[in-house]
Symmetry: C2
Subunit: 231 residues, 2 copies
DNA sequence: GTGCGTATAATGTCTATACATTATAAAATC
DNA sequence: GATTTTATAATGTATAGACATTATACGCAC
């Protein structure tokens, strides 16, 4: 397990920072000095420091040097799985029931003024209602969806497989179910639900906006922060 | 705005992948071929591909080549702000009321068996209860907290300022308030709350675990996916 | 055919060097 | 003294090459 030199340098400084040996705001050695300490070339040092900067542990300033970053807000990586895949992974049977499908012109939101397909339906896991979904898809951005069989494949899954997006934002809240929603999800009115509202774009063009209501207990969002981010 | 060459290469392939020109599973050109296409050295290509691999867009396999990653789960960047800073940013007055503070030995969870400080309290925005917090802090990992004035600074804020962590995971759910929680938050029993459970580590050492209950409507989590990821 | 070794093509890491960029510090000017 | 200019020290990007590593593919023996 001979660690690559660059990785060794990265870890060495990570260690020094996390142990408190190097405190926030303190300037760390110049790349030249680190080269000398580890007996390697500057590129190797630079790569290690670039990785640490990417992880938010240090801040690099030209001419001034490299400094231990002050602890800021942490950004976590939120996993947003495809519902069909998630349910299948739990060993349950997934089904989506499409309740409504109609063309319209969006009157509000980021799709306002565009011809859209308006879809509502319910996600089931082993026959139990798990989530209610209200989705609007731009027919300008995704004309192919007009011909899609959305009874066979849920709109979210279909979109995932057919339309890559470049940008998305999510709003995650807790809400109480309305009476209509409670009926669809087979829970008591006012029962707590996790609400995810997502809007997506492909470049500048809005693609879809969706509001998903998850029955409490049937679903949880997981987010992670860690070395490399992808770990 | 002359883009650095490596960044130009990164964007070019990001574009080709997101636009669908390069589909999941497809092999992209070898580093040699990309060198030729952009007229640059292999290190530059490699750096660009390493960045894309870090973002999860591609997968690199020795001997085999580089492939467009299959769209697994979408990874969004979740902002986890400090509550005190968040409330202040909304122009409201923040206060934390510490209700309980006691030493114990954790009996469960990732801190099990360790001496810990057990803390509960309520976050207020302009005098209105916003969130209930139940936190356990490892005294082994953070001995300094024994001497901290947690009435002046909420535990989360104190930890953010004093103890960097390297790893964290979060579980986000919706729950109904218990009667005790409802009383503390001044809401009806069973009212929906956004529940965030977070565990953090410094290296291998567990640092803290916390359960925060946010009154519905008082708080929302925001996550974003966009070009660059680090942008 | 089946299994095993070996060649090989691709990525992974590193070096030594060069020049670009830029924020700071020092010097020159007003 | 205040302002502007210039020098400089640090990071930022890139090159061209070298060798390491490793999964695949091919060929050979059985």
């Amino acid at each position: 397990m001979t660690l690559p030199l660059g990785e060794a340098i990265r870890r060495a400084f990570e260690q020094r920072i996390l142990s408190g040996a190097l405190k926030p705001g303190v300037r760390l050695p110049t790349e030249q000095e680190i080269m000398a300490e580890f007996g390697c070339s500057r590129m190797t040092v630079s790569k290690a420091l670039t990785a640490l900067a990417g992880a938010g542990l240090i801040e690099r300033r030209k001419r001034a040097g490299t400094f231990v970053a002050r602890p800021r807000v942490h950004s976590m990586v939120l996993e947003v799985p495809d519902l069909a895949a998630l349910v299948a992974a739990r060993g349950q049977t997934y089904r989506f029931r499409l309740d409504r499908r109609e063309r319209a012109v969006a009157s509000e939101g980021h799709l306002a003024g565009q011809p859209v397909l308006h879809l509502t339906g319910v996600h089931f896991a082993d026959g139990t209602a798990m989530a209610f979904e209200d989705r609007t898809v731009s027919l300008a951005a995704v004309p192919e969806i007009a011909a899609a069989d959305l009874a066979a494949e849920a709109p979210g899954t279909w979109l995932l497989h057919h339309v890559p997006w470049t940008e998305a934002d999510n709003r995650i809240t807790a809400v109480a179910t309305s009476s209509a929603e409670a009926r669809l999800l087979d829970v008591a009115e006012g029962a707590p639900c996790l609400c995810v509202e997502r809007r997506t774009w492909r470049g500048d063009a809005p693609v879809t906006s969706v509001r998903q209501l998850f029955v409490a207990g049937s679903y949880e969002l997981l987010a992670h922060f860690g070395p490399g981010g992808a770990a």
